[in-house]
Amino acid sequence: MIAPYLLVFLLFVIYPVGYGFWLARHPATYVRLVDDPIFSRAVINTLVFLIIGINLKMVVALFLSGFFVQARTWIKWLSLVFILPWAVPSIPTILSIRFMLNPEWGLVNHVIFKLTGADGPNWLNDPWIALSMAILVHIWKSLPFWTLILIAGRLAIPGELYEAASVDGASTWQKFKWITWPSLQTLYLTSSILSMIWTLGDFNSVYLLTGGGPADLTHVLATLGIRYLRLDQVNLSMAAIVCALPLVLPLVYFMMKRLSK
């Protein structure tokens, strides 16, 4: 009964991966890849995306999980609304944000003009602003998921610990430092690693918002493969992915270890 999956695995995992490595076998391909300024820019973009995106997202998720565990009816309702970005497919919402950032017609610059009388920036025409916006889109989409995970983590902490701390006159910060954080530490680290792997594969946030532009300066490793495919240079596309493996495999190894415990 394991045969159907093995068949799928052989035909659509082993074969493509093997074929991919075979396409990327020539050392000359890597020389050309490293010579391509777009590739080095994409590597830098990916690192910026990961380091800023994930830390910002996880810190906010940690903070918001503390907010959402407060027992209030309106917070319960808010939490239902809060998971919308995760429940809704990403294509329409990313395109919606893309138009909001349109310099002439977009809502954001209209509001800026009304409030300050000055023209807002051309959001998606400056590579660093555009990349920051892609990071924000990514955070917008995945923040609810990680907040839910951390809420589950917080709810698993025994309430008596907080009661005892209150009796001893502990401040909010002390409670966080001595009870919440030690209990959530492992979950927080695992979540960050998993989020890193998923963020590396986040194609939509960049591709649908900036399309890699302006001038191909906002590509990340996930979108670079498609760029080379468009240019009909499949071996470069494969080589770019092979170059990402030293970054991905240790993370995957870490997660496998965690899960098989």
Binding site: P16, L84, I149, A152, I197, L200
Partner: protein, 282 residues
């Protein structure tokens, strides 16, 4: 007196977090809805609410009265057929594998599980180009089967893992009792295993279905004919023109977003419980 003042200040602080969270969350979605119910001029003028809200855009979409919309119903149908096929096929493949690994304890089951997990953790975007070339070699490009099979490949590993976890929790004595009563493995599967696994099967079927419905990258790589593409690809194609009819794009986007959101909220209990617990085990 002092304590009621303190309580008010706590509430104020909570509101200070809650209001920005509400705006941040809803703004892009509100913007989507706003465009769908606005005439083009008012949407482009950056109004926060149209002077004359209208359902005209929906009428245009439903009657396919625009070049970009000429196959709207067909593409909606394509999305549906592909999503349902992926859901069903993933369930078949993953349930069989999980049953074999967890209940029949076939040799090499652990290895297969680890291989599957490994695939799960490799970002799908990295496999997209080799998958595209592979489908080309198999002669499946521009055939909807290519997208269905690719999505089953992506959805299966996590599904097998979740189903195996759930299946490991069923007491092994059940299997033994059934065997003593003379049940063969297929009977065990049908009469004991499937009924007990129903909640997990619902969660996994929904997971695979939504994954396929929401997919963009693989769909636009593997399918290109206007009559075969899914609605997600059709949405992306709107961007090809300089003067894209954004109000229609957003209307289609809203229609496309509603079913998964509805399913998500309907099955929220299963999804949040089953899937998040599986995703991160601390």
């Amino acid at each position: 007196m002092k304590s009621s003042w303190r309580r008010a200040s706590t509430e104020a602080k909570l509101l200070l977090v809650g209001i920005p969270v509400l705006i941040w969350t809803l703004l892009p979605i509100y913007h989507l809805v706003l465009f769908a119910i606005s005439p083009k001029e008012s949407a482009f003028a950056g109004q926060l609410w149209p002077d004359h809200p209208t359902l005209h855009n929906f009428a245009v979409v439903f009657r396919e009265q625009h070049y970009y919309l000429s196959h709207f119903w067909l593409q909606l149908w394509n999305s549906l057929v592909i999503a349902v096929s992926v859901g069903v096929l993933t369930l078949v493949v993953a349930t069989a594998a999980a049953f074999a690994i967890s209940r029949l304890r076939v040799r090499g089951g652990r290895t297969v599980m680890n291989l599957a997990l490994f695939t799960y953790f490799i970002p799908a975007a990295f496999l997209a180009v080799p998958m595209y070339k592979t489908m080309g070699n198999y002669g499946l490009l521009n055939n909807q089967w290519s997208l269905i099979l690719a999505m089953v490949t992506i959805a299966a590993p996590y599904s097998i893992w979740v189903l195996k976890q759930a299946s490991d929790k069923l007491p092994y004595e059940l299997d033994e009792a059934a065997r003593i009563d003379g049940a063969s493995p297929p009977q065990l599967f049908r009469l004991v295993y499937l009924p007990l696994m129903t909640p997990s099967l619902v969660a996994i079927g929904t997971y695979a279905l939504l994954l396929a419905w929401n997919e963009y990258l693989y769909a636009f790589l593997l399918l290109s004919n206007d009559t075969q593409i899914t609605l997600s690809v059709a949405l992306g194609n709107f961007l090809a023109a300089d003067d894209s009819p954004w109000e229609l794009l957003m209307t289609v986007g809203l229609i496309y977003a509603l079913p998964p959101a509805a399913i998500y909220y309907a099955f929220k209990r299963y999804m949040v419980g089953g899937l998040t617990a599986g995703a991160v085990k601390s």
